[in-house]
Amino acid sequence: MQQPTYYEEVLRKGYSRRDFLKFATMMAAFMGLEGTAIGQVAKALETRRRLPVIWLHFQECTCCSESFIRSSHPIVADILLDQISLDYTETLMAASGFQAEAAMRDTIKRYNGEYILCVEGSVPMEADGVYCMIGGKTAMQVLEEAAEGAKAIIAWGSCACSGCVQAAKPNPTSATPIHKLVKGKPIIKVPGCPPIGEVMAGVIVHLVTFDRIPELDNLGRPKAFYSKRVHDTCYRRPFYDAGLYVESFDDENAKKGYCLYKMGCKGPVTYNACGVTKWNGGTSFPIQSGHGCIGCSEENYWDNGRLYERASSFAGFGIESTADKIGAIALGATTAALLGHAVMTNVRKHKMIYDLEEEGRADEQQLNAEP
């Protein structure tokens, strides 16, 4: 019997050609390839041995695992049955207790240097690590054991990338991200609370299909998903440019889908794929559903201002001083004046973005600094 291709599998499962192309296009974009990469993707998916994966859970809420299983392309059942061998994950694995630990030890030994280590959660370093213990060991002891023979490490979500909520001030357990604890291993950071499911699946598929790590930015994040600001990919951006804002939740402007900047939207200082990939199979994303971005993929976002406080002036925009002015102008302005303003701000922003990209400045702190 001939083995069906990934594409045939997808069709057999009732997914459309459009779904498949969406996935393939994403992967092609990932690699900077043209549409011809589709064949390569499909072939790799059907012939390789499943990639061994150990998925650890430390200080976390399991939202990353939950997001992962929500991936629409590929669907998680196919990832688990055809692409990876998820040999240890406390969320889904059948075995418990020492049989679970044995499964992990077995993979560490048998696939030394070949398995991928996924980490969900931060590691508490306070009080000799007793704030997170698994099988009688501290999280740090478990991490050291599993990291040693890993080919690469994926830091899932903001907990593993920057400590997330438990690392918010005063970080009482000294919740520590993975890159500060493991040295000498490639680490792919996939921040977000949680990261988008399709982004997580995309990172896994990239590793399986191309047998190498996706290109990362200078903070260690896959460029494919974290090189654009939510603000720059937001469909409400034209309202921002035109100075049209929601002034209070559920006001007339909210019903018209105006910009949420004044409601505290952190889109201007947040790098993520929400505006393009969107959430839950492309259903929506926070701004589309009327709430500002809370900046969950940015380091220390819990301490970067309150939720409903406007993002303070962000790189080169000088926005804090002008938002009200723009709003005031917009209210009484003629269409011509509005358009003129929009064109001006766009030119200014495009130059600024271009400059920052040229300088390779993706770090948020640097971005927040005035040039």
Binding site: M93, A94, P124, C132, T138, V165, T173, G257, G290
Partner: protein, 574 residues
């Protein structure tokens, strides 16, 4: 001569749970439940904007995602006297129904099923016979012999690869597995189908809350404005998608989940007499049909049942300082006035101090403190919370929908009502509840449509959103029914900031260690008497523990780790 065994990590749950059990003559004589991770979020919340609290506490749990955020906005609205528009109530309810549908299905298939379904044994099934059985229990269309033989071939290839992945080292072939191979194959098929389905129902939360897990909430209502004449708002297209998703969810629960549950349960009726435990059940109530402030309209009525006595339902008051109290006698915390006393959450204090063995260790010292989970009590009683509690309270309160569902199931399985007080009862109640909730989700949806049709498009009440409008001091309490049971938050607001925030969550009730008087909590109590055929493969422990659907990140959420005494807050205000 008893032997102590340890199950750590307990997998297929949320978070980090450890069970130690004393086994003698093939039965559990004593059991200890320990939460082994803590994040101390309460300390982090202090001093922050109360309007932001929903986002922080939402991150307590990504499995029962949204429920802490919902409870939090209710808590802050209670403190500030904010009444939200009916549409916002309905949207919150619809999102909540989607959560329950998702959570219960995922629990049954992905967290619990492998305690009853032997995956490897499914390879021995006859696809034709499997098809006949599947078609005899349900109209679900994916039931042809070809469907099952394709699946079997796929699983065979998977097993032959030698890489068993998530199925590695399961207790396959354990004598406590009782299902025929054909039902094992149906279970496995639906494991995979449910994995595909679950990503759909959560889209309901994404439509209103922007994303899932961790959708957005708003103090004062919801941020998703109704804008029938704009592409950005909740318009006819968005609403149509919600309706479709709710319908599809209801169909999956009725045609897949419930028939599977009944088919599997009919082979495990002996578990209707195992794992009962406390016999005390508590519900705070939720899913208001006429607003959160009208408890009589709750689809989940509140109440307490003691000693399995269904003839009497007592009332719960979360504001009274002698009802809900937390103890730390066996938890790794110190109370200023000693560890024997219980404290109401509004005056709650906690200073974490780990006194357990130095890791790596083999056993906990269970005579002393042995968990990061505190021990809550209601008027001194240990309580079980969760779907079984809700179904029993609804049943005991004589609600027709509950009676119909419960009596129907008991008749189908041919078991007495007392079989509900068990591991099987807990698992069955979750399925009945999922079915009820899937109907209510549509009821709430049609009510929302009818409101909009009559011209009411309000989604948020922003009158008191500005902190300038708040009193200097305010106390609030908010509650919800989480998929795992009764949930409440308590807040103290001082000068526009959080002075204290406390959560007492379902798994705190169920998974806590014993209290000052040595009373066991729900897990520990339910495990006692459970048979364990093979102490190296304690499948039976997993069955009972999983029947509660543990959520440890919720149970061990918070707590102040700094040595400084926490400001004591008076219940009556000062």
């Amino acid at each position: 001569m008893s032997k102590r065994i340890v199950v750590d990590p307990v997998t297929r749950i949320e978070g980090h749970l450890r069970i130690e059990a004393e086994i003698s003559d093939g039965r559990i004589k004593d059991a200890y439940s320990s939460g082994t991770m803590v994040r101390l979020l309460e300390e982090i919340l202090r001093g922050r904007d109360p309007r932001d609290a929903w986002a922080f506490v939402g991150r307590v749990c990504g499995v029962c995602t949204s429920i802490h955020s919902l409870t939090s906005v209710r808590t802050v609205e209670d403190a500030l006297g904010i009444v939200i528009p009916p549409n916002a109530e309905l949207v919150r309810n619809i999102m909540d129904c989607a959560l329950f549908m998702h959570d219960h299905v995922v629990h049954f298939y992905h967290l619990h099923a492998m305690d009853w379904v032997d995956v490897v044994n499914a390879l021995k099934a006859d696809p034709k016979k499997t098809s006949e059985i599947a078609q005899s229990i349900s109209h679900w269309p994916k039931s042809s012999p070809g469907y099952f033989s394709d699946l079997q071939a796929r699983i065979k290839k998977f097993v032959d690869s030698g890489q068993l992945g998530i199925f590695s080292n399961g207790y396959w072939g354990h004598p406590a597995y009782k299902l025929p191979a054909e039902i094992n194959l149906i279970g496995l098929a639906h494991y995979l189908e449910a994995l595909e389905w679950q990503k759909e129902i959560v889209k309901v939360q994404a439509i209103f809350g922007g994303k899932n897990p961790h959708p957005n909430y708003l103090v004062g209502g919801m941020a998703c404005s109704i804008g029938l004449d704009d592409v950005s708002g909740i318009n006819a297209e968005r609403l149509a998608l919600v309706e479709q998703l709710l319908h599809e969810g209801k169909t999956f629960i009725e045609q897949v989940y419930l028939p599977d549950l009944k088919a599997i349960a009919s082979y495990y009726k002996d578990w209707g007499a195992i794992g009962g435990g406390l016999g005390n059940y508590m519900v705070y109530g939720d899913l208001p049909f006429n607003g959160y402030r009208d408890p009589a309209s709750y689809k989940f009525p509140s109440g307490v049942i003691l000693n399995k006595d269904l003839s009497k339902v007592l009332d719960v008051d979360l504001r009274k300082d002698d009802e809900v109290q937390e103890f730390v006698t066996h938890s790794w915390y110190d109370y200023a006035e000693g560890d024997q006393k219980g404290l109401h959450p509004w005056v709650g204090e906690s200073k974490v101090r780990y006194t357990g063995p130095k890791p790596p260790f083999q056993f906990l010292d269970t005579e002393q403190k042995y968990s990061y989970i505190k021990t809550p009590r209601w008027k001194g009683h240990a309580m079980e919370v969760g779907p079984l509690a809700r179904v029993l309270v609804g049943y005991a309160r004589g609600r027709e929908e509950y009676k119909e569902a419960v009596d129907g199931l008991l008749k189908d399985l041919d078991v007495p009502v007392t079989a509900l007080f068990s591991t099987l009862g807990r698992t069955a109640a979750r399925g009945l509840e999922a079915s009820l909730v899937s109907r209510w989700g549509l009821d709430f949806y049609y009510q929302l449509i009818s409101n909009i049709k009559s011209g009411d498009t309000r989604m948020a009440n922003m009158e008191k959103f500005n902190p300038d409008t708040w009193p200097a001091k305010a106390l609030g309490v908010g509650h919800a029914e989480a998929p795992r049971g009764a949930l409440a938050h308590w807040i103290n607001i001082d000068s526009g900031r959080i002075a204290n925030y406390q959560l007492v969550v379902p798994t705190t009730w169920n998974a806590s260690p014993r209290d000052a008087s040595g009373q066991l909590s729900a897990y520990e109590s339910a495990l006692i008497g459970t048979p364990v055929i093979d102490e190296n493969q304690p499948l039976e422990i997993l069955r009972t523990v999983h029947s509660f659907d543990p959520c440890l990140a919720c149970a061990v959420h918070l707590y102040d780790e700094q040595g400084s005494p926490i400001s004591r807050i008076s219940v009556v205000g000062d």
